[in-house]
């Protein structure tokens, strides 16, 4: 028997973008079965943290381990399901709901091999969990924002991940779809999945969350039992009664500059 390892373990994690420190000294460990909400105001660094946890942004300091393996050596990507912000999922060619969800199965497929029976079953199941089975042949652009969000979640579920990371799944989503999202995530939680999600407001997801991590200006301000939405706001405005929107990486470059 191997000892259980934490799906996510970040120690002293820092992220710099364009030479400016954005996240500083983040310690965050997520245990198997946790349902963690990363909360905070716009610009507090929650999306940056998620991008660092999924390897999309490099750490400037600290160490990240995924299922016990340092991120540099990590290869078992099929264990991680990522749901990016919805704005990233549009393209210039029509695509069907089924095709988007099927692309989530790539982590299990070898090159130049057709989908196996098992792959197709996983795709069908993922569509079923988010209740989009009847729309599988429809074009993605025909769907409402909330339905598109459910498709992106199904895409992550098709890979049958052990850890699901969602970036703002409820942003700009109508209430019925938020409820459908909460139902789908509730079924996953009941199956013992580990979930990390970024949220501005929890809404119908609130009953599922058993740990809240509150970000403020690139650092963790609170880590513990879930907070009510108004407490999140209080925490944020505690030190900055007149909070103004600000940009962590001022854009002093022309389009051809490297990022």
């Amino acid at each position: 028997m191997h000892t259980p390892v934490s799906p996510l373990e970040l120690t002293g994690g820092s992220v710099a973008i364009g030479g400016r420190p954005i996240l500083r000294g983040i310690d965050l460990t997520v245990e198997t079965g946790d349902f963690v909400a990363l909360m905070g105001a716009n610009g507090s660094g929650k999306t940056t943290l998620v991008r660092a946890l999924t390897g999309l942004l490099p750490l400037s300091a600290g160490e990240l381990r995924l299922f016990g393996t340092p991120i540099r050596e990590y290869a078992a990507w099929s264990r991680i399901g990522f749901v990016p912000q919805r704005s990233t999922a549009s393209s210039g060619v029509p695509t069907s709901v089924w095709e988007v969800v099927a692309s989530g199965r790539l982590t299990h497929r070898k090159l130049l091999r057709p989908l196996s029976k098992r792959d197709r079953a996983a795709i069908d199941h993922a569509l079923d969990v988010v209740r989009m089975s009847d729309r599988r042949h429809d074009g993605v652009t025909e769907l409402s924002g909330g339905q598109q969000q459910r498709v992106l979640i199904a895409r992550a579920l098709a890979g049958e991940p052990d850890l699901l990371v969602l970036d703002e799944p409820t942003a700009g989503v109508d209430l019925p779809s938020q409820q459908a999202l909460a139902d789908a995530l509730g079924r996953l939680k009941a199956d013992g999945a580990t979930v990390v999600l970024v949220a501005h407001e929890l809404g119908p997801l609130a009953p599922l969350v058993d740990r809240a991590v509150l970000m403020r200006d690139g650092r963790i301000a609170y880590d513990g039992p879930p907070l009510a939405d108004h407490e999140v706001l209080d925490q944020h405005t505690h030190h900055h009664p007149t909070s103004t929107p600000h940009d962590h990486t001022p854009h002093f470059d022309i389009p051809l500059d490297r990022r």
Partner: protein, 338 residues
């Protein structure tokens, strides 16, 4: 001499083989370029390839191979600038366009070649295709088609959502470079039939035509490839037929035929989409009160039902009939306003 005599000529048969293969390969790569919203990338690569052709003419080596190499380098440069910049690379494309074209014309002049020789590469010229060219074309296009269709799941995922693809463990940068090189190869092999300045049309127009009628990526890809063959073979035959009476280069006839296909498909696509929009179910939210329609008198006892002539749209567990700006749901002896 009639069209059959023309088809029995060796150069015409070679041109037809080249047209079939380029017609398949160009839209296959083009679909991935359109998916990334880089429709003009083929054009940028085509301009860069002009420098490659001129380099071949200047040094006395095969213009096809120098064009492949220079176009691939240009495509990689576009991809690198695009991957590192904040914008989607239109400035990078513009730099390539002008540098490539200017370099090509300059080199041709240095070599003392007449621009008419360069023109056969710019707009296509079926009579210049040698047997070796045909084999090179077939070989390279088969590679392009096999990669574009065989790696379709990976290429699709990378173009659809690069961030998701990266977290799924795909090497996004490598796949992006592969598409750029494939595009460069298809541009180069298509330059004999369509010509470098028009090749991008064969990559983009069939895709634009196909997506008027399709709803999935796979059918768009396959339909674009079929439309590509139709345009390139049909355009070539048109050019050959017209050559009895006028000097018609195959490039323009292929592109105009492809555009004619788009012009035919577009109104049909608009009509289909509007029909689908009108028939989409209404949100399953019922009105709060019971609002009985009182404007049914002008319909003179009209009974809504199947084939009653009014648009029937699903609304929750029943059907609303849409006419004159109303949504009428049958309710016993009368109709409710929904």
């Amino acid at each position: 001499m009639n069209i059959w005599d023309l088809l029995s000529l060796g150069f015409m048969q070679r041109a037809l083989i080249a047209a079939v293969f380029t017609g398949l390969a160009a839209p296959a790569v083009g679909t991935y370029l359109v998916q990334r919203r880089l429709s003009l990338m083929g054009d940028g690569i085509g301009h860069v390839a002009v420098t490659g052709v001129a380099l071949g003419l200047l040094t006395g080596t095969s213009p096809t191979w120098t064009a492949v190499v220079v176009a691939a380098l240009g495509a990689i440069a576009i991809e690198v600038i695009r991957g590192r910049g904040h914008t989607n690379g239109d400035v990078a494309l513009a730099l390539m366009f002008y540098g490539g074209l200017a370099g090509g014309v300059l080199l041709t002049g240095l070599g003392g070649q007449s621009t008419s020789l360069l023109q056969s590469y710019l707009f296509g010229s079926i009579t210049t295709i040698s047997p070796t060219d045909v084999w090179v074309t077939v070989g390279l296009t088969v590679v392009v088609i096999v990669v574009c269709v065989g790696l379709a799941p990976q290429l699709y995922a990378v173009a659809q959502d690069p961030e998701f693809a990266k977290v799924a463990g795909l090497r996004v940068g490598a796949y992006n470079l592969a598409v750029a090189v494939l595009a460069a190869v298809s541009v180069t092999v298509a330059m004999r039939t369509v010509g470098l300045l028009l090749v991008s049309a064969l990559m983009v127009v069939p895709v634009a035509t196909a997506q008027q009628l399709t709803r999935s990526f796979r059918t768009t890809l396959l339909a674009a490839m079929l439309l590509g063959i139709g345009a390139s073979v049909g355009g070539l035959l048109l050019a050959a037929y017209a050559s009895f009476s006028a000097n018609v280069a195959p490039g323009p006839s292929i592109v105009l035929l492809a555009l004619a296909g788009f012009a035919a498909a577009w109104p049909l696509g608009v009509w289909l989409r509007s029909r689908r929009r009108l028939r989409a179910p209404f949100a399953p939210v019922l009105p709060e009160g019971h609002d009985v329609s009182d404007d049914h008198d002008h319909l003179e006892g009209h009974v809504h039902g199947e084939d009653c002539g009014h648009l029937a749209v699903a609304h929750g567990d029943h059907v609303d009939y849409v006419h004159d700006g109303h949504r009428h749901a049958p309710h016993g002896e009368h109709y409710d306003e929904h």
